[in-house]
Structure formats: structure tokens, C-alpha cells
Amino acid sequence: MMAIEGYVLLSAGLFCIGLFGILTRRNALMFLMAVELMVNAAVINLVAFALYHGTLTGQVFGLFVLGLAAAEVAIGLGIILVLYRNFGTIDVSVPTTMRW
């Protein structure tokens, strides 16, 4: 059995890469993908600790998260399409109507 630290570090790395994507990209699609990376990082943690503690709860929650991520992508796709239709672009820096 691989030490738990490795998985936690992997999870942290994956999460921070996703975060890096969100912070540096302006394309809404890239947001979506970066969020998927972060969600996967979280699930890795859940699954790793499920094994570590010897209960299936982590896996059940992982399953939940997968389903939610799929739903989120479906919604995100709709939002991106609407964004594209209304603004002609999926650059998130263009829609600024909710600003002062």
C-alpha cells in the first residue's frame, strides 16, 4: 500500500493546477475544465481517505461528486452557450454588467 501522503500531495497538486487555470485563463471553457480538475483532486482525497479509514463513505461521496460534476458540466455548457449567444464570445472578462 502506497503511503497516504503521496495521494494527498497528488490531490493538492491537481487542485492547485486547476486553480492556476482558473486564475490565469479567461476562456469560460477553460474554467469548466479547470473546475473538473479540482473536483477530481477532491475525489482523489475522498477515495484515498476512504481506504485509509477503511470505510466506504468516502467512495460513496466520490460517487456523489462525480454525478454532481457531470451535472455541473451540463449546466456549464448551457451557460457557456448563452454567454456566447449574448456576448459573441466566451471570454469571461467581457461580461461586466454586474460591476459598479
Partner: protein, 95 residues
Amino acid sequence: MMETAAFALFAAVTLTSAAGVVLFRDPWHSALMLGVSLLSVAVHYVMLTAEFLAVIQVLVYVGGVLVLISFAVMLTQAGETPPETATGDGEVTGR
């Protein structure tokens, strides 16, 4: 020992492909990289004795989410990149 080596290998694949997701300019490339990343995460699940989750990961993520993202890329990519950089890149014709 083998386990550790496998973990290191797939961790490298996961992280590298994840970095590719956020670093590639073309969203289409990013989407492909995302696929690689998700698959390698599935491998990690297997290693964590969560085979069921791994299967679901492959089915839902690689089979569903990635397809959806591909659709989004295709639908919106026509105007994403400026014309001068978009020439000959195939994003425009992808529409």
C-alpha cells in the same frame, strides 16, 4: 515497490496532463489533455481499491463530460481566438 513506482508514474501523467489542460492555448488541446488526466485519475482509483468508482469515472467523465466539453469547444470556438492567431489552426473550420 511496484506500487510506488506505478503511483509515481501515474501521478506524473496526471499532473503533467493537468498542467497541459491549463497551459495549452487551444481549448481543443486542453480538452484532450483533460481526457488523459481523467483517465489517469481513474487508474489512481483502481490503485485505491475503488474499482467501481474508476469505472464510473471512465464512463461518466471520459464518456459524458468530455463529450459535452468537446461539443462546447466546437460550438464556441469559431470566435475564441483572434483571427491572426486562428489562421490555419483548424478551430474555425471545426465549426
